[in-house]
Symmetry: C2
Subunit: 218 residues, 2 copies
Amino acid sequence: MPAEAKVDKVAKVDASTARPDSAPLTERQEARRRRILHASAQLASRGGFDAVQMREVAESSQVALGTLYRYFPSKIHLLVATMQDQLEHMHGTLRKKPPAGDTAAQRVAETLMRAFRALQREPHLADAMVRALTFADRSVSPEVDQVSHQTTAIVLDAMGLENPTPEQLSAVRVIEHTWHSALITWLSGRASIAQVKIDIETVCRLIDLTEPEDRGGA
Amino acid sequence: MPAEAKVDKVAKVDASTARPDSAPLTERQEARRRRILHASAQLASRGGFDAVQMREVAESSQVALGTLYRYFPSKIHLLVATMQDQLEHMHGTLRKKPPAGDTAAQRVAETLMRAFRALQREPHLADAMVRALTFADRSVSPEVDQVSHQTTAIVLDAMGLENPTPEQLSAVRVIEHTWHSALITWLSGRASIAQVKIDIETVCRLIDLTEPEDRGGA
DNA sequence: CGCTAATCTAGAACAAGTTTCAGACTTGAT
DNA sequence: ATCAAGTCTGAAACTTGTTCTAGATTAGCG
């Protein structure tokens, strides 16, 4: 069923969502990629990780199974890419309304809680993305790293820092560890929302330890 | 091939490794369980998560596939149980040589680094266990919780506390989050051993914030 | 001992991720 | 417009986790 039109040509990839991979995609390829990611997010929103079945994604996005695998070499790759996509939205949204806390710790905690609330609105989607992220093996490292960097950027934004010290970067790393792991315990029903909140607030206190100005904590 | 002898009978389960599940196991059942866990650990040590294939585990442990599934209802259950098993060893080993640091934070960091070094000796096994742990869904919550409690016990041991305050328990939770997540980044090649060490040391500083003696946190 | 229920075994069958392949379609260049 | 190379499609095959079944074996009991 060759149902595609005849308008196409080279198409410069816009830099916003650019995967600086290797080959620039044509418009139709970009459209396919987008359809796939959309289908992935949609299915994930329904039933989480298990509901994202490669055959279904292929069908929903009007693409052959083989093509799906050409774009995303595994289910994990697909879901991590889906997460990258969502993270971009999130970062944009968060940027519009910066957190209002007095201290960096408060602002980071507030930002993470805001993100957490967003995830609560689509718990199944969150499940699919986070499970994929932590289950990813070495073959997905580059993509996972990109997600990690994006997350770091969000946290640093919240802290309001231009040139973080190594200590502060360490604190941010630990915050991200806690964020991921706390999400997992929540998703698997082993921790309540309240508990996650406490964990986030607890770890954010680490930031206070690294304040160069007034030294000392609470 | 009914190759089993005729010596058996009721067999009291010893309390050390007791799964207070429901039915006490006969000796032969206990032996099967042990063979299965051994095979699981062995295969995991070879090739990590992927190398633990249910058919192979069944064959290695001289048990039918159906029986394997009766003992462990999924691959994840099996690997989490394998982790429980290993954790017990670990806890026993650690108990023998308590950490020597001056502060609670130092002792916890030292203990975790010791555990980390043990994992480095069997990185594939670590991979299988940790991946299973973080991939586990709600159906495995009880078992994962038990692993979590065991880990908490180890950390509290290292801190040398009888009655931890709620604040200290929060710190311990965050430490465990960091521990798990840092392990994952290491296993998937996104963080070096040195980086994991830094992360552990960083998060352990949280403990200092909760010391009740010399001025308090918050 | 002899019985009944529970357990175990071998093996087929099923499900979903992944791979493969032949043939049709597109793309980019001539 | 035409050709070679690259891409996409549909469908089958393969892999490994999981389920199911029928028949043997074992456990606990009278």
